[in-house]
Symmetry: C2
Subunit: 473 residues, 2 copies
């Protein structure tokens, strides 16, 4: 523990209080728990750090960062650690600052419909707090039981209903952040309109902890949909997916989700979860749609919509869930994919985005590339296709060792990213860049943009102590 002198230890304890700071070589916390605060869901990195702090408020975060700034120590903000890009990994003896004790509601405005909370609040708890107050916070995805709202903002989280509600960026009214010098910045607070120069808070949304630690946030709220209906359809070819999505613009019932999976994915779910095939005939693609409904006439509109898309041939089969249980069952075919594939196979994941209309040409190029170089690779495709967001999972052929498979994936990735660039896509739709994709950032951002990002980083974190090594190559 070369960088941890007795003096630093004592100072940190005096800044925060004994109970809020943990050292690796003490007995206060077991080693596995301690180290887990410096690791996310990318299991490829080994955490290595000596100091773990649990501040209770913005001022304490600021004190830690001032200390780090003065003593030239690095800092990694630690949220719910549900990321897939290594953005929360501490492996360079950084101070890990966990926000998990900062989970209080600070304010609630029932008139304007907003809530202010500390950034360490678990997303599902936020949902609960909001619903108890008669409102709804619509950003939702599978990791909400662990993820922090601050982490969601730091990674500009999306989820399953982006097609209707947008990304979390759209719901952030105000932010409090602490920069790399320990300075506290408060943006906007409770107002919606503030055209007074550059909207700096937008920089922190999606910055993966590299510009500042988000400590508090004010979120806009909405009302929970009264009810919803799920429509599960079989789609004969890719152009029909485009036409189908286009047709949803005319339904006049809000579209909450537009999710896609291939036959390959459906087979895997049927095998793994031992559920029946929901369709009598096989089809290359399936689309699951969720609609908000308010009254009986909305349901009639959905039956009309189904009739239209069947008549026009955009779908060859489709059924509208008759009750919420059936709706849940339909969702299982989409939500079960990741688990079904990951548990039964070795998988290399990619979370990419493309203009909807460029998706087919991209996939044709990709399949040609794989067919030529890796004919035994299989690909599981699914995702939030209404947002142009595709989860592209490559499956290890059974005759290949894990090591060889991942080595080959590493070879394929840059070629795939080049194809994404060609078709105007992004190498990371939702997961971010973190450590995992920083060497490929240039496929999505120009060198001029990367240079500007560096300068912004330099302005807010002049000593490069905040989550160093993440995002920027």
């Amino acid at each position: 523990m070369s960088n941890l002198t007795e003096e630093k230890r004592t100072r940190l304890k005096s800044i925060l209080g004994e109970e809020k700071v943990f050292f690796r070589d003490e007995d206060k916390m077991d080693s596995a728990t301690f180290l887990s605060y410096g690791l996310d869901r990318t299991k490829t990195y080994s955490p290595d750090f000596d100091i773990l702090a649990f501040p209770r408020n913005t001022k304490e975060v600021s004190e830690i960062l001032k200390f780090a700034y003065e003593t030239d120590m690095k800092v990694v903000p630690s949220g719910g650690r549900t990321g897939y890009a290594g953005g929360a990994v501490a492996k360079e003896r950084e101070i890990v600052v966990s926000l998990s004790k900062m989970d209080q509601v600070l304010d609630f405005d029932p008139f304007f419909a907003s809530i202010k909370v500390q950034a360490g609040m678990i997303t599902k708890n936020l949902h609960k707090e909001v619903e108890e107050r008669g409102f709804y916070f619509p950003v939702d995805f599978s990791a909400t039981g662990s993820s922090h709202i601050g982490g969601n903002i730091a990674t500009n989280a999306g989820g399953v209903r982006v097609v209707h509600y947008g990304l979390i960026r759209q719901w952030v009214l105000g932010l409090t952040v602490v920069t790399g010098t320990g300075e506290i910045l408060e943006f906007n607070g409770e107002i919606l309109k503030n055209n007074t120069g550059y909207d700096l808070k937008q920089l922190f949304i999606g910055s993966e902890g590299t510009l500042g630690i988000i400590t508090e946030c004010t979120l806009k709220l909405t009302k929970k949909p009264l009810d919803h209906r799920v429509l599960f359809t079989a789609v004969p070819d890719y152009p029909s997916i485009l036409e189908l999505f286009k047709e949803t613009h005319n339904v006049r019932v809000p579209l909450l989700a537009f999710e896609f999976l291939t036959r390959y994915c459906l087979d895997k779910v049927i095998d793994h979860l031992h559920v029946p095939d929901p369709f009598s005939e096989s089809s290359p693609y399936y689309v699951l749609m969720e609609f908000e409904i308010g009254e009986t006439s909305d349901e009639e509109k959905l039956f009309g919509f189904l009739e239209t898309i069947l008549e026009k041939g955009y779908v060859t089969d489709g059924s509208l869930a008759q009750n919420s249980r059936q709706a849940e069952t339909f969702w299982k075919y989409r939500e079960g994919i990741s688990e079904s594939i990951s548990l039964d196979y070795t998988v290399h994941k990619n979370d990419i985005s493309l203009p909807l209309r460029n998706m087919n040409p991209f996939l044709e190029d990709l399949m040609a590339l794989l067919g030529k170089e890796y004919p035994d690779f299989e690909v599981a495709l699914f995702g939030h296709i209404g947002d142009g967001n595709l989860h592209l999972n490559m499956i290890k052929p059974s005759n290949l060792a894990d090591k060889d498979f991942f080595a080959k994936c590493k070879e394929v990735d840059p070629h795939m990213f080049a194809l994404l660039q060609k078709h105007h896509g992004s190498i990371s739709a939702e997961h971010g860049i973190g450590l995992l994709k920083k060497e490929f950032l240039h496929f999505s951002r120009s060198s001029a943009e990367i240079e500007i990002m560096r300068k912004i980083k330099q302005s807010l974190d002049p000593k490069n102590i905040l989550n160093p090594g993440k995002i920027l190559p």
Copy 2:
């Protein structure tokens, strides 16, 4: 024309072509028309510039900026010039770059529902282009017949339906900008999700031309509301406005607008437009609401809502427009205010924003201040109160000379801004900072924030040639 040598003249002509560049001392354009390109709706500044360029595309804008960068000349981007903050004023011999010849549709995606246009397209023409394609672009306000879409983005425009559709920021998918070095940056283009580092395009939205010239934009589109209904109500006191807005969250019919005016404003409209008083009894406040409706049952919901708010005493009177003509008439009482006051009186305007629940304490403080110092000032209050946005117009007492009135307003403004700061408001909700409010920026942004803004400006416009003197004090 000290800074305009023969050599520069020749070079500019050769860069753009003779027909795209005008010099003040030539006969090609009359002087008044020429100078109008360097002035917005703030009539307090006198334009003074020698060169006016009309580029046709991004590359030409880049060429002009490279030229300006090399020759140390300043540049003012010129859009529809409908601003109220002096953001488009050229009075320091800058090159004025008018975007008005850049008004073409570049791309349209009917599947994802987006359109790409050049930034000089007039907003109303954009609306038309979009509606011809079966879609709807919801950012709308009174100046759309002149304003450019690029200018709307550069000032993060709002308008009357922000309460439902948000500010223009929410509708910008992609941007092409040219920075102060002539570098062309293309952000995001056609994709919704791109979590690959800092979202730089957000910096340009609302930057008032100080970081780059927006040359192209890709906008998300939606569907036009099938129909709408207008509800005009009399509200007895300020707390009832809060309760009324809160109650709208429960209507389950989309609220498109929530506008407010005082009795004083209503009187002025009645006088000026010679229209009847829409209410039988006088009330201190009025709220006009617009709702989207899709079918008969929605109308029933609105009648139920009106019954509820009458019963609860949030409104003392209210009527629901029975047809679109009556709806238009109701809107006149709101939209006619600015004209009615400005034509009959000398007015000092302010466009401010506050948390809804802080508005009454702020107004009480303000009235106390005015009552003490300027007891003969009258105040016309109206605005998009659902967004916390208030238009606060001070009216010149008849016994005061214009000059003395404006001098007194100049005295009042900082006190009012200090009250805004106290109540967590903003000195500019929609109009921006420009030249007009830059000395007051510190009431809404901390010195740390202003310092960061300067660094960002420095990164994107190292020679400070882009709209210099705007925003930053």
